[in-house]
């Protein structure tokens, strides 16, 4: 809240302008409300469903099996006796990328819709509107947790012995993707109030996202098919970097560390991706604050 400077003794000291919040900082100060909104979302989503939260295991599970059979076996990406050129432990390679991209898709998709979905409330009561995109991201992180546990269990069966650096890289990779999703979620969430096309644009973007990062294939394919410049552009995508940190942390330790990371990955591309996602978040916040003044009348 912004304090107005007034001369004393006229009874106006301490008056503030309502409806002008501090953006994401207000979300930090209303953590309890954030928690209640997240709880509500989880309770409401699986209300009346028999297997409840299990759906967040079933959906990626089925997706994984389909991709594994179609790409790993039919299209020969999996390394085997007959196919020595493929990726060793392709199942783990695939799953470690899928869980992160799924988190990104769910987070961005829901955050983009969150403002319009909560329009009834936003029109009537003032509260920091950033709460809605942020709670959408939070809910997706809660759905991400069981998937990462399954991934770790699978890795342990495959003889997983990660180094501290590798685990740290995965944490940084997750942070990059989460910041990116929050920034884009603020942008598309706010634009969606004015143009409902935004959510369709996001759907399109998410469909491309799975294929524009090395989830199903290895990054080396990009270099071999399109050359070094194309690879550099490819690595500018923070989602690509995020996925590659997950491969580094979960898949490489099970594949005898034979596969290499892209050149200067940890020293150059990870910092660039982190910077890009922070810039996205700042831009998202600025745009959101510009547009939120008219949410109540546009919804």
């Amino acid at each position: 809240m912004k304090m107005d400077v007034s001369t004393p003794d006229d009874g106006t000291v301490g008056l503030v302008s309502p409806g002008r919040g501090a953006g994401l900082r207000d979300v930090l100060s209303s953590r309890f409300l954030l928690k209640l909104l997240v709880d509500k979302e989880i309770k409401v989503r699986y209300r009346g469903s028999v297997i409840g939260l299990l759906w967040s295991y079933v959906k990626p599970g089925v997706q994984f099996i389909v991709f594994y059979i179609a790409l790993g076996i039919f299209l020969g990406l999996e390394q085997s006796a007959r196919n020595p050129g493929g990726l060793p432990n392709y199942a783990i390679y695939l799953f470690s990328g899928i869980v992160l991209v799924n988190f990104f898709s769910e987070a961005l998709g829901n955050a983009s819709r969150s403002i319009v979905m909560n329009g009834g409330l936003i029109k009537k009561i003032y509260l920091p509107r950033e709460l809605f995109p942020v709670s959408a991201i939070w809910v997706s992180a809660i759905h991400f947790l069981p998937q990462i546990i399954i991934l770790i269990v699978a890795c342990l069966f495959a003889g997983w012995t990660p180094s501290v650096l590798q685990l740290g890289a995965a944490v940084v990779g997750f942070v990059i993707v989460a910041l990116m999703a929050t920034g884009l979620g603020l942008i598309f969430g706010a634009v969606n109030v004015y143009f409902r096309d935004a959510e369709n644009l996001v759907d399109l973007l998410l469909m491309v996202a799975t294929w524009a990062s090395p989830v199903l294939y290895a990054w080396t394919t990009v270099r071999d098919q399109l050359g070094q410049t194309a690879l550099n552009i490819y690595l500018l995508n923070p989602l690509t970097v995020g996925v590659e940190t997950f491969h580094y942390a979960f898949w490489m330790p099970t594949a005898d560390q034979t596969q290499a990371l892209p050149p200067s990955f940890l020293s150059l591309w990870v910092p660039i991706a982190l910077a890009l996602s922070i810039v996205t978040l700042v831009l998202g916040q600025l745009l959101f604050r510009r547009l939120e003044g008219r949410f109540a009348q546009e919804l």
């Binding site: 106006t12 302008s17 309502p18 002008r20 709880d39 309770k43 009561i125 143009f195």
Partner: protein, 242 residues
């Protein structure tokens, strides 16, 4: 008395947009149909007044006169295009019954969610919880999902949460029309009690008899302008005469 609400010459124009599709916007711009994209009209024009702490103000006027829009500016939901709105302390109220209630959650969850949305801390809600349930007369149904509530129960719980937020400025928009006679009386008593404790009240209502019981001052709006500001009796007479 210190000033509780200070409104200085605010303007609000609404844009009626005729399309929400990027394709149509683009096509219409190309075809030179820019004028068809939107129409503007003024919802508030040059509205200024101050309310001192502890005053009870009724905003009166016919449908479309800008009363609810003005209330939304005081709560911060809307921002003025020009002019300033300033308030002191926590603003809360019933802008619409049960905004922020979720039908699939239990009454208990909704008390926490709604209380928190209206600006209460976790500690405040826990302290006030029993009192809220008692005031609402919901009793054993507090753990039932709200969608099974009757409209009266819904209203009572929403009102109970709102009055327990302990706001400095309490905004009420057309809510006492619902609910049965005894509960209405109870609400009026509670509103009076809040006022005696020094809270500022701003009420929007078409129920002129209720308004004359609750408020001392009346502000009449006509097409977004203040046309009368004075004793509530005079304001009601002005409305009835037009």
């Amino acid at each position: 008395m210190p000033i509780s609400i200070d409104i200085k010459s605010i303007e609000k124009r609404f844009v009626l947009r005729h399309t929400r599709s990027m394709k149509e916007t683009f096509l219409w711009l190309l075809k030179g149909r820019r004028g068809d994209l939107y129409k503007k009209f003024s919802a508030l024009e040059g509205v200024s007044f101050t309310v001192e702490q502890g005053e009870t103000v009724a905003l009166l006027g016919f449908n479309g006169s800008g009363k609810s829009t003005l209330l939304k500016h005081i709560s911060g939901v809307m921002l003025p295009d020009a002019g300033t709105v300033r308030t002191r302390g926590r603003v809360a109220g019933l802008i619409e019954v049960g905004a922020g209630f979720h039908p699939d959650l239990s009454g208990r969850d909704n008390v926490f969610l709604n209380g928190s949305i209206l600006g209460m801390s976790e500690k405040e809600i826990r302290e006030q919880f029993d009192s809220i349930v008692e005031f609402s007369e919901i009793g054993e149904f507090i753990d039932t999902e709200v969608r099974f509530y009757s409209s009266g129960m819904y209203l009572r719980l929403a009102f109970a949460v709102a009055v327990h937020t302990n706001p400095d400025i309490f905004l009420i928009d057309e809510i006492l029309a619902v609910g049965d006679e005894p509960f209405q009386k109870k609400c009026l008593a509670k509103i009076k009690e809040l006022n005696e404790a020094g809270k500022t009240l701003v009420v929007v209502s078409h129920d002129l008899d209720m308004v004359s019981k609750v408020c001392d001052r009346g502000i009449v709006l006509e097409r977004g302008r203040v046309v009368m500001d004075g004793e509530v009796g005079d304001a009601i007479a002005h409305i009835r005469a037009s």
